[in-house]
């Protein structure tokens, strides 16, 4: 595995937690983002993720570098899956280890916020009655509200 990667197969989060653990780490935070069945009353059947893979991995790597600068002593691994994902499956995993817990929480949350700003990955929701690329300007069926 790479510390920052786009993958097409199911994610085993424990591999990323193991990757960041070191003898000086007292705390590991592991975030997993999962496909939700219900979002604002609309039932999702499954999701499809697409990425601009080389740029996405470069941006994940950059986020990791930002984290090491902001929280020295942390170690990070991030993976995002693309392709079709079923309900409950893991889309993204972020593992952070740190000597102290505060940094592990803060750095981990920073990572997911930056991923959502920066990394060229797109989510398409597939419902019973339609599909939508999330993040774009089109409206959802039956709702008329942007996510």
């Amino acid at each position: 595995m790479k510390a920052y990667e786009i993958v097409t197969e199911p994610i085993d989060p424990q591999r990323y937690a193991d990757y960041v653990l070191r003898p000086e780490a007292g705390a590991v935070t592991l975030f997993t983002g999962h496909v939700r069945e219900w979002t604002r009353g609309i039932r999702t059947l499954y999701l499809a993720y697409e990425a601009y893979i080389p740029m996405a991995e470069k941006m994940l790597d950059r986020i990791g570098a930002e984290m090491e600068e902001k929280w020295p002593g942390t170690r990070t691994a991030i993976a995002h899956r693309i392709g079709e994902l079923k309900i409950g499956e893991i889309a993204v995993v972020i593992a952070v280890s740190s000597p102290h817990r505060r940094d592990a929480y803060e750095a981990n949350e920073y990572a997911i916020e930056r991923i959502k700003e920066l990394v060229p990955i797109w989510k398409k929701e597939i419902w019973e009655n339609g599909t939508e690329w999330i993040g774009d300007q089109r409206r959802k069926p039956e709702e008329g509200e942007n996510p």
Binding site: M55, I121, W122, R138
Partner: protein, 77 residues
């Protein structure tokens, strides 16, 4: 020539994932104008452009051989 990449909804609007165009010497803004004329239905409001896998500024100038990717609002995570 430069290579233009389209993703997500933009790819569906363009009907292609990538194409080549003679836009070397033009700015990112001019690239977006060119795309907007070519695909009038394409939603470009919130689109960012990456040149060679780095986000670019509106005034950055395209060089021969560059890859320009149109990045609609991202929704990873």
């Amino acid at each position: 020539m430069i290579t233009i990449f389209y993703f997500a909804g933009l790819k569906e609007a363009a009907g292609t994932a990538h194409e080549q165009a003679d836009l070397a010497g033009r700015t990112v803004n001019e690239l977006l104008e060119w795309v907007g004329k070519r695909y009038p239905q394409m939603p470009l409001d919130a689109v960012r452009v990456a040149i060679n896998e780095e986000y670019a500024l509106a005034e950055d100038v395209l060089q021969p051989g560059d890859t320009a990717a149109l990045i609609p609002p991202v929704s990873g995570g």
